[in-house]
């Protein structure tokens, strides 16, 4: 078994994550090492390690830190730590925050020191109450122990900075995981992404230089400092070193969050670590890195390695490393529809390509799945998805289009069969409607689309509510 570091403590029986337990196992040694160096040196070490962001884009972390203005710039700087974790399939940051919160806090402090931040804000999605409670407890413990709130000689202008670490909560909007939307939300506004440039390193929180990093990214940093960048590069691949937390869900025997080296074969994770596809069935498709990375068919998954280059070569992306497994009985059209409904619900509505595109993808996928598809619908899906790529303020539009593009690319026959047979060949639920009517934008961020089909499936009658049934008849 490959070496582990992120989950070593958590997997030790009886580890409770308190300050005492954390320091007894080498905790906060890295912070001491970091504070004995200049912030630039800490950046250099992280750069040398080759660590790449674990929040989705895989950007080199050390390099990102060097984008912050030089030490002579007198403006206050901030670190925003992204604990929004809302990409469907992703459930890994939560494990670190809930079960080893001090490792997160130490990582946050070192990252903040490296960019000379005066405050770090950990933006936690509103539903993660347990994560927030654990982090708040850890921050209070660290403050009582004099680890937080001590003046640090890091301002660069010869002065001192007293670093503060705070938690902040969101309230259920996926878009707030996008770094500029996160900053808007942290400022107490709607989560509307900002056009870039200006980039956060120059104009971030309250218009000041800001770096945004994911929870898992910063949690790697203490280990890199104590054990060195050379050690870090012994794990993973040359272009993507280190381990990552792989949340695997869907149709496997042992879904869970596992620490594995980058560059591991996807098949090894599915078959050995997660105990194989459930119910003795065969693999049909895999979503390799969270919903936005789309669907890959079994033959491609067979040889794919899980790192940034491997997933890219397979036509997808590494994303958050959250693998979602679909067995051979799964309807890809239904799965695509579920994702389209998600993006439709989550688009912030600023860009017309995304706002209208997400609504139409949802509407068309839903009608194909319901057996109401038109002959031209597959072409329409592709045209729509194409019109949503690389044209908008943020990447949510791309994230919505990619699953549709990959689903049609690899499973086109399944879409066509739905349309030709005017039903779901997998015998899936017939009806699925939105309570507030088709193509009605008013439900964005307001009410949820509703599965009436669920009730029909279970033989439950509820009269005139089944609008779709009337329409079909």
């Amino acid at each position: 078994m490959a070496e582990k570091y992120l989950l070593t403590r958590i997997e030790t029986p009886g580890y409770g994550g308190s300050l005492r337990e954390y320091t007894a196992t080498g905790g906060y040694e890295a912070l001491k090492l970091a504070l004995a160096k200049k912030p630039e040196e800490v950046c250099g070490i992280v750069k040398d390690s080759g660590l790449r962001g674990r929040g989705g884009a895989g950007f080199p972390t050390g390099l990102k830190w060097t984008f912050m203005p030089p030490a002579t710039d007198p403006r206050p700087r901030y670190l925003a730590v992204n604990a929004d974790e809302s990409e469907p399939g992703t459930c890994k940051d939560r494990v670190l925050m809930e079960r080893d919160p001090h490792s997160v806090v130490e990582g946050v402090m070192i990252a903040a020191y490296a960019i000379r931040a005066k405050a770090a804000y950990i933006y936690i999605r509103g539903e993660y109450r347990a994560s927030k409670a654990a982090l708040d407890r850890a921050i209070a413990e660290a403050r009582a122990a004099g680890l937080i709130g001590k003046p640090l000689a890091s301002s660069g202008l010869g002065g001192e900075v007293t670093l503060q670490v705070y938690t902040h909560v969101g309230a259920g909007a996926y878009i707030c995981g996008e770094e500029t939307a996160l900053m808007e939300s942290l400022e107490g506004k709607r989560g509307h992404p900002r056009p870039k440039p200006p980039f956060p390193a120059n104009f971030g929180l309250w218009g000041q230089p800001t770096t945004v990093n994911n929870i898992e990214t910063v949690t790697n940093v203490p280990y890199i400092l104590t054990r060195g960048p050379q050690w870090f590069m012994t794990m993973g691949t040359k272009a993507s070193p280190g381990n990552f937390l792989c949340g695997i869900s869907g149709h496997v025997n042992r879904p869970g969050v596992y620490e594995v080296p980058l560059g591991i074969k996807a098949k090894e994770i599915i078959d050995q670590i997660a105990g194989g596809v459930w119910k003795g069935r065969k693999l049909k498709a895999l979503i390799p890195g969270g919903s936005s990375s789309g669907f890959l068919p079994a033959p491609i998954v067979e040889t794919m390695v899980m790192d940034h280059d491997g997933t890219k070569a397979a036509g997808s992306m590494f994303g958050t490393g959250a693998m979602i497994v679909l067995d051979e009985t799964t309807c890809v059209v239904r799965a695509t529809k579920v994702l389209c409904q998600f993006y439709h619900h989550e688009t912030c509505g600023q860009c017309s390509q995304c706002r209208e595109g997400c609504a139409w993808l949802d509407q068309i996928c839903t009608r194909i799945e319901n057996g109401d598809g038109h002959a031209s619908d597959v072409t329409a899906l592709l045209a729509l998805a194409d019109g949503m790529r690389s044209k908008t303020i943020c990447a949510l539009s791309d994230a919505a289009a990619i699953p549709v593009q990959l689903a049609v690319q690899h499973f086109r026959a399944e879409f066509e069969q739905h349309i030709a047979e005017r039903r779901c060949p997998f015998g899936n639920r017939k009806m699925e409607i939105h309570h507030d009517g088709l193509h009605d934008e008013s439900h964005i961020h307001n009410t949820q689309s509703v599965h009436t089909d669920v009730l029909t499936l279970h033989g439950i009658q509820h009269g005139d509510r089944v609008v779709g049934a009337a329409r079909r008849a």
Partner: protein, 175 residues
């Protein structure tokens, strides 16, 4: 985008109440502590809305106005933010609120049966509240419990690896 703005009520609301009388002292203390975290007090708005909802159960127009007074900002700004975030209830909800995840990992492992169990057991669909005001059901997007799907959040507590039977037991136990 058409935003879900409610029509203003015919009677103009009285001048917003004083935050010091509208909210409990404990809630106000949380507001004050939150505001102290930021260079700009307005940044505390979303956490403050959460605290307000914990006390009042939902976010009314009046609550928005009082928060606006507290943060010295226009009420429309509070309203605008509140309506963007799905966790804020814009209408009264039941004593318990269940958010069932409908997203992909949960869907693959039977989220629809979980939703159906609520209908069979309590006669409510997503978005509805039982007649006795006990329980509101809402659908959630991925809640980060994917590796223990299907799952739901009831009153802020995650319940994972659900089956229709475990949901029935849980619903029976709700007071």
């Amino acid at each position: 985008m058409t935003l879900p703005l409610r029509k203003p009520s015919a009677a103009q609301p009285a001048a917003a109440s004083d935050p010091r009388t509208y909210f409990s002292a404990a809630t106000l203390a949380k507001f004050d502590a939150q505001v102290a975290q930021y260079p700009d007090p307005k940044a505390a708005l979303i956490p403050i809305l959460h605290y307000a909802q914990e006390e009042k159960g939902w976010i009314s127009r009046e609550t928005c106005e009082v928060i606006a007074t507290y943060l010295k900002m226009p009420a429309i700004r509070v309203w605008e933010v509140m309506t963007f975030y799905p966790m804020f209830h814009q209408e009264p909800v039941g004593r318990h609120v269940a958010w069932v995840c409908r997203n992909i990992s949960c869907d693959l492992r039977g989220a629809d049966e979980i939703v159906a169990t609520f209908y069979k057991k309590c006669g409510i669909e997503p978005g509805e509240t039982t007649a006795d005001g006990k329980l509101t059901l809402k659908l959630a997007e991925c809640l980060g419990g994917c590796a223990a799907a299907p799952m739901m959040d009831v009153d802020g507590i995650y319940h994972e690896n659900l089956t229709p039977e475990s949901v029935e037991r849980l619903l029976d136990g709700l007071k």
